[in-house]
């Protein structure tokens, strides 16, 4: 097919569609009709105070929580129930990184990364090891291949967790307050890895308290308040002209 010149940028495909999502824990409504789209290659920062429902939303996208109403579609597939074909597809499409790293403490860094490659993707051990070396280089931890998680700093553990997700070549990466457990120095090294990923065109949704990071890296900011998307839009616009009092208050309190 000949290259078409002069066309403007094609409208970017919405890789994640969130529609009217409601999530309740008992009588507590944590998500109250949440909806937005994420385009391929876009970095979205979900911000908001504690208890605003932002982490819960991320966990719903990852299929770790089931929603009471509404739909979440990732790469054209619904999130699905555990054990369903849709869920298996979701696992291929989405990588998740947690606040508490959640590395497997009984396995080496390398085996943490290759476990899913060999078990889920059925790759031979050599290919999986090669992939592990590749992603470890990406997060700058080549020399920690044979270390156990407890021998690493928090920042290093979190970079391994990112590498572990990346090894599965997901379409989308979800980050759930991944630097909240780290001190500032270690936060910087993890954010640097995430910025690098963003530059490489990875679609990312990150729940974060790092306003500097959100302003610098995110294309889209979603401000959540009381279980709703209170305000959202392109990062620069949103920070320059907050539309709601809640968001401008939030921004000034976080700076």
């Amino acid at each position: 097919m000949p290259a078409v010149e002069g066309t403007s940028e094609a409208p970017r495909e919405a890789i994640i569609q969130i529609r009217d999502v409601v999530k309740e824990f008992g009588s507590l409504r944590v998500l109250d009709g949440v909806g937005f789209d994420v385009a391929r290659g876009q970095v979205t920062a979900i911000v908001g105070r504690s208890g605003s429902g932002k982490s819960t939303l991320l966990r719903c996208i990852a299929g770790l929580e089931t929603v009471q109403a509404g739909t979440i579609t990732v790469c054209g597939h619904p999130v699905g129930r555990p054990g369903s074909a849709a869920r298996a597809q979701l696992r291929r499409d989405v990588g998740m990184v947690f606040q508490s790293y959640n590395l497997f403490p009984h396995l080496t860094v390398e085996r943490n990364i290759t476990l899913a490659l060999t078990l889920v993707k059925k790759q031979p051990r050599e290919a999986a090891n090669a992939k592990a070396a590749e992603v470890l280089a990406l997060v700058g931890l080549t020399d920690k291949r044979l270390a156990y998680p407890e021998q690493l700093s928090g920042g290093q553990q979190q970079r391994v967790a990112i590498a572990r997700s990346l090894a599965l070549s997901p379409q989308v990466m979800l980050f759930d307050e991944v630097t909240s457990a780290l001190d500032p120095e270690l936060t910087a090294e993890v954010l640097a890895v995430m910025e690098d990923l963003a530059r490489r065109g990875m679609t990312m949704i990150t729940v974060t308290h790092e306003m500097g990071f959100a302003r610098r890296v995110a294309d889209l900011v979603v401000f959540m308040h009381q279980g709703k998307v209170w305000e959202s839009g392109p990062t620069d616009e949103l920070f320059a002209k907050p539309k709601t009092a809640e968001f401008s208050q939030f921004v000034s309190s976080e700076l």
């Binding site: 990852a62 291929r92 947690f98 959640n102 497997f104 009984h106 476990l115």
Partner: protein, 215 residues
């Protein structure tokens, strides 16, 4: 009255082999059934959880001695006459399974929920999660209490003497009946029990150290 001699000692040591064998049966049988019970206790199906829980409560609420009576005399009356070693092996298996099942359930549940979530997000199915992520971590937690319970099993095999099974304790009684030197004889019996149990404790400590170093 017969003087205590070397033959008596040999007789006691030979009986100790039966104690050892009975302990082994109880531990192997108890482990197999106990692992099944532990996995049933953490099942997502309520009926399966309930069945395992009912069994465990029933056995834990019954003295081992009564279980022995039931399986030897009780089944005997009903026409299933078991030889003492089988009745004792069966009773100890049922008994050990209930306790090991409960110990191991605790060890499975002690692995943080986030380990399930992380492995789920990587696409592992439930079997793979158990086999590669959860159980290997549970095993480390399980070693000390499991060995502690093995020591209990060894000592509890002495109850099999009441159904006429000649293990170490029963052999001690028999020797005492002919020599009437209870203090000496039962001290020897106790020493043999100690010799069987102490290495278990040592092994447990060594395993704990090794697993800690390997992390």
């Amino acid at each position: 009255m017969i003087q205590l001699n070397a033959n008596h000692l040999i007789y006691l040591l030979e009986a100790a082999r039966w104690t050892l064998l009975l302990s082994l049966i109880a531990f192997v049988g108890g482990s197999v059934v106990g692992l099944a019970l532990a996995l049933m206790r953490v099942s997502r199906i309520a009926v399966v959880r309930g069945a395992a829980s009912g069994y465990i409560q029933l056995i834990q609420g019954t003295p081992l001695l009564i279980i022995l009576f039931l399986s030897y005399f009780g089944l005997g009356i009903m026409g299933y006459k078991l030889v003492p070693i089988v009745a004792a092996g069966l009773s100890l298996t049922l008994y050990a399974a209930a306790f090991l099942g409960e110990i191991w359930r605790g060890c499975i549940e002690a692995v943080p929920r986030t380990q399930w979530e992380a492995s789920d997000c990587l696409g592992l199915n439930r079997f793979q999660q158990y086999a590669y992520v959860i159980l290997p971590q549970s095993v480390k937690l399980a070693i000390p209490p499991t060995v502690g319970f093995m020591v209990q099993i060894v000592k509890n095999t002495s109850l099999a003497s009441v159904i006429g099974f000649v293990e170490l304790s029963r052999a001690g009684q028999i020797v005492n009946n002919s020599t009437f030197e209870p203090f000496v004889i039962f001290t020897i019996v106790a020493a043999i029990y100690f010799a069987l149990c102490y290495p278990l404790s040592l092994a447990a400590r060594a395993l704990e150290r090794r697993s800690h170093a390997g992390r």
